[in-house]
Symmetry: C2
Subunit: 213 residues, 2 copies
């Protein structure tokens, strides 16, 4: 979802270099130095306005989180919150999800979250879907062998595609839910802004968790 | 679904040895001899009252079909129809789906259909689910390398389980639909009795197609 341009975004980002990095070229393998404590790092690719990653950071203080978002006007909203909250275990990264292997070293990440990613429904846009094989290869490269990929969406076509794509890549499914909000995982589920809105309208939410062999 | 006992079933079966076999021990590798023409053989494991397999046989005269069903009172209903229809490309097998490797030789089967199989929702009954790994191994043993497994269900838990089970077995997904009746495959879809009834009530039907690596 594209957000309206925010004229104040660039200034806010420039003023908070301790909280956010912009397409950094020398941070790979040094992310722990930006957190208060050295603890496992989880990233969300496509954080939007950041409700999910911010609440995750609050709920799990013993983990470090990084919000990766390509839209300046979206990550600026997360940054606004973080300027208030000053969560010691949350960092922001304005950059392209297709360049993750530039931003992170091998084994630097303990888990990857994808939430309500753009479905790119046209076949010719398949390569842009965040569960396309080139992205799966990226996540694999930066993730520890014990790491997991967790993916939520309300988009039926994207979920069908993703099941097949992860399967073809050789990933192992640890959990699949075809109705997350009526499953055992509902209680612990932290929702995105989008998820809250659409599940209230009765839209089913799909979820999968998988790891690399 | 267990059907009421049919006192006439045993007699009808005994009277039609050209149409139905009962737990046969010497038919493996000789199924083609029971059909009018030698053509690829597709089996349905758990045919119930047989609407699906009968209509498939009518729709695809260039394929041979075998209805496998463990319940005498169910397969007797299929046999009743077949006594009327005398489809040259349909055979019936009263026997246990767990003994498929007794009934069929390696490579004898071109495809396996599972439709609305018993979900066996309790964890301790996992081994009875027709997508449990021991069944997947059976299908693999009797299926040609180019063969496919096609599975439909309205049971969310069984479908979630089956996606994970086939994936863990190393099978490759060729197609996944989380709403078959609103997909491109709907037009060609032949319904079971159960499917007709429950999809009319608005129940979503899941479908997957997969092959062995």
């Amino acid at each position: 979802m594209r957000l309206r341009n925010k004229p104040w975004a660039a200034d806010l980002i420039a003023e908070n270099p301790d909280m956010i990095l912009v397409s950094p070229e020398n941070i790979a393998s040094n992310w722990q130095s930006r957190f208060a404590k050295e603890q496992p790092i989880y990233i969300e690719v496509g954080s939007g306005k950041g409700q999910f990653i911010t609440q995750m950071a609050q709920k799990y203080p013993d983990r470090n989180f990084i919000a990766v978002e390509i839209q300046e006007s979206a990550i600026a909203v997360i940054l606004q919150k973080q300027v208030e909250l000053k969560l010691p275990n949350l960092q922001l990264l304005l950059g392209n999800g297709a360049a993750l292997t530039t931003f992170f070293a091998e084994n630097e990440v303990a888990g990857v979250y994808l939430n309500f990613s753009d479905p790119w429904p046209k076949t010719r846009h398949e390569k842009r879907r965040l569960t396309y094989k080139s992205f799966l290869a990226e996540y694999q490269q930066i993730m520890q062998p014990t790491g997991y990929l967790r993916f939520k969406t309300d988009n039926q076509g994207l979920f069908e595609y993703s099941l097949a794509s992860l399967n073809a890549y050789g990933m192992v499914f640890d959990d699949i839910s075809l109705d997350l909000h009526n499953s055992d995982l509902a209680e612990d589920n932290i929702q995105t802004e989008y998820e809250e809105k659409f599940s209230k309208r009765g839209q089913v939410i799909y979820r999968l968790e998988a790891h690399y062999k």
